[in-house]
């Protein structure tokens, strides 16, 4: 996984979303209009296990290496089927109860809501991904076969 280089100017919609996220105690992730993870807040660092300042922007294809999402029974989710994937590819809001595993290897029950940000003329600026944390599960996360 590598950080995205040459981060470009962000839309006002994303800038405002980032400021909201920065002031919330709820984990929040922001993707831009090409699916790059452009920000997560301090609260989300608990899930990831590393601060955003350390990782920087992350290409959508690498997001699974940062935070693995799986069904409640442990079955890994395809990127397109994650809430963020649904919001990004299908342009609709979605909410799921899932398991999340970050860098620290800890699996947590989470509820995830993702919704696309649309501006004028249905121009999509990105996706907001909000996590509500549940209990931590004991034991190692299963091997990741498909992210």
């Amino acid at each position: 996984m590598s950080a995205v280089s040459g981060a470009g100017p962000k839309s006002v919609a994303l800038i405002l979303a980032r400021e909201l996220a920065a002031n919330l105690a709820t984990p929040m992730f922001l993707m831009d209009d090409v699916g790059t993870l452009v920000y997560y807040n301090d609260a989300a660092e608990r899930l990831i296990g590393k601060p955003f300042a350390e990782l920087g922007e992350i290409a959508s294809s690498d997001f699974g290496a940062v935070l693995q999402l799986s069904e409640p029974d442990g079955t890994p989710l395809r990127r397109r089927n994650t809430p963020a994937g649904v919001a990004f590819f299908q342009h609709r809001a979605t909410h799921r109860e899932l398991l999340a595993t970050g860098y620290d290897g800890v699996r947590r029950h989470v509820q995830v809501t993702a919704y696309p940000l649309f501006g004028a003329a249905n121009e999509m600026h990105g996706v907001v991904n909000v996590f509500w944390e549940g209990e931590e599960l004991e034991g190692d996360a299963p091997e990741d076969e498909e992210r």
């Binding site: 981060a7 470009g8 100017p9 962000k10 839309s11 006002v12 919609a13 800038i15 405002l16 980032r18 400021e19 909201l20 920065a22 002031n23 649309f118 501006g119 004028a120 003329a121 249905n122």
Partner: protein
Amino acid sequence: MRARVWGCRGSVATPGSETVRYGGNTSCVEVGLASGHTLVLDAGTGLRALGTELDVDDGRELHLLLTHLHMDHLQGLGFFRPLYRPGLDVHIWGPASPIESLAERIALYLSPPLFPVRLNDIPASLTFHDAPEDEPVAIGSATVRAAKVKHQGPTVGYRIEENDRTVVYMPDHEPSLGVELRSQPPEWISGHDIAHRADVLFHDAQYREDEYESHIGWGHSCVEHAIDFAQKTEVDMIVLFHHDPYHTDEDLEPLLTAARDRWEGPGEQVCLAHEGMTITLDAEGVTRG
């Protein structure tokens, strides 16, 4: 390229003896291009006086660039004489909205009971455009680009380039909302991209720092934040614009002093906008008059 200020007051027109030096008309700046075209930035009450002096006999189309549709940026439109010249080609640009077209939103003002003349009855030939956010557009000898900026409701700033000179116009802008500007990465600063390294930046500077504390989120900047934005975007000159309607001429002068104290550069690169101010940008440089 030559810019002339016809109105730099914010929020509401403030005629009277206490606003003579800097003027009481609301936002309007004329930009004359080498090609002879005229760009008009915003349609505040300053637009009325511009309309009495503007030469529209040369057959060139006129371009009116609106940053947003708050009344202090629109009220002069109904009193702009060129609009009553049958057939005059007038292009009106403004921020796109997901709800209504630009013409529909302007018609809310140009229709009874707020105004006696309906937009559809304006004799000039009007063409409406969404502000060029995706691709710059060529207008006469200039290139114009817009970007959404932080204010209340859809609002854009404009970047006008001609012969390697650049004017940027952001009269209503609160880039510091929720953030400490000086520590922000440039790509996360509202308006940074279109303001970057402009020769001249017209920027919102409505409040004193102590006044801003009770106006956070209203969509405007204090002088200190305007200066921080100008430093961050590396502009050569900032023109403090959109003066608070409660600030008299006497109130404004200390703001300029505070701004120059904060500016890391020659003080003459910071100035207060005033009605009649002209700024000429050419191969020789930037000249303020």
